[in-house]
């Protein structure tokens, strides 16, 4: 059980939830997630907890989640206020693998910046380029937080209201066109087509690329085998909750989803 410490609306659909959860805060590493209760105690519906990436760990045992209200579950979550208590299971899954000393390029689309901030903070002493994109300026998230860490932050918006007029992949393509350090690691999170395009670029240039995937989850801990994604080698499936959510992009099948 975790105490709700804060629930702040960041932009029309996006909320920042802060929970007091000492053990999770202690154990968490970037890219890991939690299964968060959204309903009120005793309610039966919605049945399942919701997976949310750990956005940040803040001083004194608090964890933050940055999430978009997309349906009933996230709506209910947004209704919880300080004083409420929620069941939270975590930290779960395998997060980003940091290779010390290698330059990092972080590519986040929309809510994809949620898990990247925690990563950026851990990478504080390394060479880091952060590329963030969104449809409009209003939907660009956490720009100040990334900037505050001291990383180079490049922006793109689809309507050109801030940063480059275009997609994060346009920015990435430019960054990579300068002949990046071959040891560079790309870390990405965002919509599937974006991650796929990022993977394609990394793959072409032989760069390592780690992707944070989403899948419908029931348990988050390997019990149900529901969170399958296809393997690139055709040998069955990977499980996002236990083997991911962060994968080496070379392991994942990027065939269009049916």
């Amino acid at each position: 059980m975790a105490d709700v410490i804060g629930q702040v609306q960041i932009c029309p659909d996006v909320f920042l939830l802060t929970l007091r959860a000492d053990e999770i805060a202690e154990a968490a590493s970037p890219g890991q997630f939690c299964m968060v209760e959204v309903r009120s105690h005793g309610d039966m519906d919605p049945l399942l907890r919701r997976p949310l990436s750990i956005h940040r760990v803040v001083g004194g045992g608090e964890i933050e989640f940055l999430y978009r209200v997309v349906g009933h579950g996230t709506y209910l979550l947004s209704q919880h206020c300080p004083g409420d208590r929620l069941y939270v299971l975590g930290p779960l899954g395998h997060g980003f693998q940091i290779v010390p000393g290698c330059p990092a390029i972080l590519v986040g689309g929309g809510l994809g910046s949620a898990p990247l901030l925690f990563l950026a903070e851990e990478l504080a002493r390394d060479m880091v380029t952060v590329i963030l994109g969104a449809p409009t300026k209003e939907e660009l998230l956490c720009v100040e937080q990334f900037t505050a860490i001291g990383h180079q932050v490049l922006l793109a918006t689809e309507d050109g209201s801030m940063g480059r007029h275009g997609l994060v992949t346009d920015v990435l393509s430019e960054v990579l066109s300068h002949g990046p350090d071959p040891r560079s690691c790309i870390f990405t999170c965002g919509p599937w087509p974006m991650m796929r395009a990022v993977y394609d670029m990394a793959h072409k240039r032989g760069l390592s690329c780690q992707v944070s995937l989403e899948a419908r989850m029931a348990c988050g801990i390997g019990l149900c085998l529901g969170c399958a994604v296809r393997r690139q080698d055709g040998q069955g499936y990977l499980h996002v909750c236990t083997e991911g959510p962060v994968f080496d992009a070379e392991r994942v099948s990027w065939e269009p989803r049916q």
Binding site: M44, D45, P46, L47, L48, R49, Y87, L89, A215, R216, M217, A218, C219, I221, G222, L223, C224, L225, G226, C227, A228, V229, R230, Q235, G236, Y237, T242, R257, Q258
Partner: protein, 302 residues
């Protein structure tokens, strides 16, 4: 006050209490080791295994519905050999009953698996899944009383372990299947497996599951499960294990009152890993405060 005796006999199988973890919702047990004290429970029924490893169905495999969960996992599993080699050793260290859930594509496969498990240490019983809605042909043997009886006989002939046959709810008359299975020699019956259902995502205008249909579980199906358990308890003489939507101790009591000798907790474990412990504690407290001494005392006789 005398502490109630929570033990219960499922035919030749003695459980220390009536709370089991349902197959497919507790992995191979080890996944839960930090979240739940398995040794407190009556037993664990591991993920359904087949002769050969199965990759399972393409994703999406899950969809949520009102008070329910649709799944089409498709029996993804590592196969019986790897199960015995890689998963059983850990399970052998448990101080609770380990029940292996098996699925075969033919009567022969069921028999072969039963034979393979016979005599393996650390296994207390076999649960025969004749009712998986998520694999081709999976549901047939569960809905045809003759075929169900055939599988039961074949498995019984191939092992000395207690055999629990798990029934599908997707039938017109569950008592017919139950009676055939009982006559064929099953030591116990467990029910229900999931109810065949589907959901459509109106945003993407596509079925939510890649396989279109899936199995419905969770609180939504509890009234259906309870009705079928009530019917089967009254139509066979062998013990019945109740399954379906059990999330609270009151839910478990409903099934025990209907006459089930034990219950399995499925989807509730996915939602809250320690559910089974809470359910067990609730049953104990209820029996204490109502002066009931044995699980059988809960049974309503109407």
């Amino acid at each position: 006050m005398i502490a109630p005796d929570l033990s219960t006999n499922i035919g030749p199988l003695r459980l220390k209490n009536p709370v089991l973890l349902a197959s497919g919702t507790c992995g191979y047990g080890e996944e839960l080791k930090d979240l739940l004290d398995l040794n407190q429970l009556g037993g664990i029924i591991v993920k359904g295994i087949s002769i050969r490893p199965r990759p399972g169905n393409p994703p999406p495999r899950l969809a949520e519905t009102p008070c329910g969960l649709l799944n089409s996992i498709g029996l993804e599993n590592i196969g019986i050999e790897r199960f015995i080699r890689e998963k059983l050793p850990w399970l052998q260290g448990l101080k609770t009953s380990v029940i292996v859930n098996i699925f075969g594509e033919s009567t022969g496969e069921y028999a072969e698996m039963a034979r393979r498990l016979d005599g393996v240490t650390g296994i207390q019983a076999i649960e025969v899944n004749i009712s998986c809605p998520n694999v081709d042909g999976g549901i047939v043997s569960g809905t045809d009383p003759e075929a169900a009886a055939g599988v039961t006989r074949a498995v019984k002939r191939s092992t000395d372990l207690p055999v629990i046959v798990k029934l599908s709810p997707n039938v017109t008359d569950i008592t017919k299947v139950a009676q055939e299975v009982a006559s064929a020699g099953a030591d116990a019956i467990s029910l229900i497996n999931t109810v065949l259902g589907m959901a459509i995502d109106v945003r993407s205008r596509r079925p939510c599951l890649a396989r279109i249909f899936g199995g419905l579980s969770g609180p939504a199906i509890k009234p259906i499960a309870l009705r079928m358990v009530w019917q089967v308890v009254r139509s066979v003489d062998i013990p019945v294990i109740g399954i379906g939507g059990i999330s609270t101790y009151e839910d478990a009591l409903e099934f025990l009152m209907a006459g089930a000798k034990a219950i399995e907790v499925g989807t509730a474990t996915l939602v809250q890993p320690s559910s089974a412990e809470n359910i067990l504690a609730g049953i104990r407290t209820y029996m204490e405060s109502n002066g009931l001494h044995r699980i059988g005392d809960l049974h309503l006789h109407i």
